[in-house]
Symmetry: C2
Subunit: 210 residues, 2 copies
Amino acid sequence: MDSIILASASPRRRELLSQIGIEYEVIPSNVEEVITCTVPSEIVMELAKQKAEDIVIQLNCPGKLVLGADTIVALKGEVMGKPVDEADAFSMISKLQNNTHQVYTGVSLSYMKEDGEIFSHVFYEETEVMVYSMTEEEIWYYLKMKTSSNNAKISKWDKTSVPFECEDKAGAYGIQGPFAAYIQGISGDYNNVVGLPVGRVYQELKNILK
Amino acid sequence: MDSIILASASPRRRELLSQIGIEYEVIPSNVEEVITCTVPSEIVMELAKQKAEDIVIQLNCPGKLVLGADTIVALKGEVMGKPVDEADAFSMISKLQNNTHQVYTGVSLSYMKEDGEIFSHVFYEETEVMVYSMTEEEIWYYLKMKTSSNNAKISKWDKTSVPFECEDKAGAYGIQGPFAAYIQGISGDYNNVVGLPVGRVYQELKNILK
């Protein structure tokens, strides 16, 4: 399989592609996100497609495959992106605890045909996540944690130090970190919650490339 | 929370306890496993209890909490432990592909009371795993992979080099490695498939220690 282009700066998506042995280069899209849909599954597909096609156009290299992805959390119809500050993160976790929510990741596999037309194969995966009940003390303890990710840069909330664990994550939690203590179970693909449904991606790539 | 004793040599169980911030020391049990049950959930609880109580007795230290765990894979009533060789691994993956199986992890939280009596709180978690269909070529490609785990020691099958990815894993696969390409989804706790249901473990520890 030729190496693909990952149109995302997310270290978690990089790690997931590496985990299943897909070679890639990273060219993050900074396209301005335009949301015209209201249904979570359609929002993530729309944004994934915008990111992938943005890079396809920049590259202008027929046949080069670009993967775009977008992840959001939805609870009873309310869509949660990344928290803007600590109070927003507290509000998100307070709603997610003792409850079941859905995580949607949209993926777009896009390339330019020889005639310059852009082809995009777009799909999404939905995973249900059940979270145990948490005390206020447990929520604050979690929100004060710093990330231990190797890819941690500088915190957006606390400019002098490493990011908080909940920063930069849809729904204000990372299932692959200490929040695992509060996960009762899931229904669907685990890696979809981390940020990329690599099982489905691998199967779709096989179909496109055969 | 005081540090606990992990009665298991599994590097994956160590990583999972670290992930949720539980402090532990490792004292692996080498007790001879005695299976008197036939139901998968009972087998893993029986073995987890034997391992934990073996270490409780060796320690002879009242109040010190020991965690024992055991994981097996079951497909339509057939129990799969770790593969004994490559042919066994091939047989297991051939059955798991294009199918749904169950993973059971039993956990025993055991300690000695002041009067010397042993108390064990034993439970299990079950996770359903759906595997995409795989070609024979894909199965062999997977079986020939070497592990990239940091904790890799020497292969039992190929004494001169690092272990195969499928070695030393119930059902001959690790969901947290390249086999993720073939996972369609799960129902239950993901970490239960990796080897320890840390969400449930954290909740049970809170109840025991309060």
